[in-house]
Every structure is written in C-alpha cells, then in structure tokens.
Assembly symmetry: C2
C-alpha cells in the first residue's frame, strides 16, 4: 500500500470516537449496527456520528447497507490486512 492511502487508513482510525465505532462494529459482526444504534450506544450526536461514519466508510473500513429507514454499518475486516 502506498503512503498516501496508508495515511488515509491510519488517520481514519486515529481518533477516539472513530476507533470506538470501528471496534464496536468489529464486535457486532457482519450484520453491523444501524447508525442510530451506534449513536445511542456510544452517546454521540447524530450529526457528529454521521461525520465519522463517512470518514470510516471513505477510508474503506466500513460498509453501509440500507434497510428501510435504517442504514446498517459493518466493519470491512479484510482491509486491515492490506496495511501490514
């Protein structure tokens, strides 16, 4: 992996809220959790959470799946291997 991509990946996890989100979703498994569920578990305002979810998704660490009014976010397990 080139330096620029590695920096994007590392930076996306180098933030307390985002690392907690990622760890929560790793625990949650492949089905993931709805955004609102994450927000209430971690006690993060929805707009702040949305900002962080976007960062993580953009870095390729999360996958988003819409189901009705809910959007389920789940961890993209494979990508961490690429970094190392």
């Amino acid at each position: 992996m080139n330096t620029k991509n590695a920096v994007i990946l590392l930076a996306s996890l180098a933030q307390e809220a985002r690392l907690e989100i990622f760890r929560l979703l790793v625990q949650a498994g492949p089905n993931g959790l709805a955004a609102g569920d994450i927000a209430s578990r971690l006690n993060i305002p929805s707009s702040t959470l949305s900002f962080h979810l976007k960062e993580l998704t953009h870095a390729g660490l999360l996958k988003a799946a819409q189901a009705g009014r809910f959007i389920y976010y789940s961890a993209a397990f494979n990508i961490m291997g690429d970094l190392l």
Copy 2:
C-alpha cells in the same frame, strides 16, 4: 491496548512525513540514522523534522541514541505488534 494509547500510536503514523520517516528507519535497520541524515534524505527542515521525531518517539515508535553530536533514531519494531 486501550483506546487512548492506540489512538496515540495510530495518530503518530497517520501523517505523511512521519510515515515516511518511520518507513525509512525500518529500512535502515537497528542502527538507525542520525537526525540530519533523515532531514537531508527526506528533504525536511530540521525544526519540522525534530517536531515529528518527537511525536514518533513519544508514541514509542522510535528509539533515540546519542553518539557525540549526533542523535541516531531507529524504529522500535516490537510496538506495532501490540496494536493488533
């Protein structure tokens, strides 16, 4: 590793100049390189480099060893394992 320490570790690598410094020192092996040597190889002003070396050292990713007027920095290989 707890979240806070992990964030410090990740943040210290989540920056282009610092990731390049770390990678250069991994390549350089256990003897490391003197600060000025790193500065000229990566073309970074000395004060800026010093700032980044401090960050990396503080995060535990680098070790510093004084030898005369030179300070040799080398990569602390073991710590990356702790993260995972």
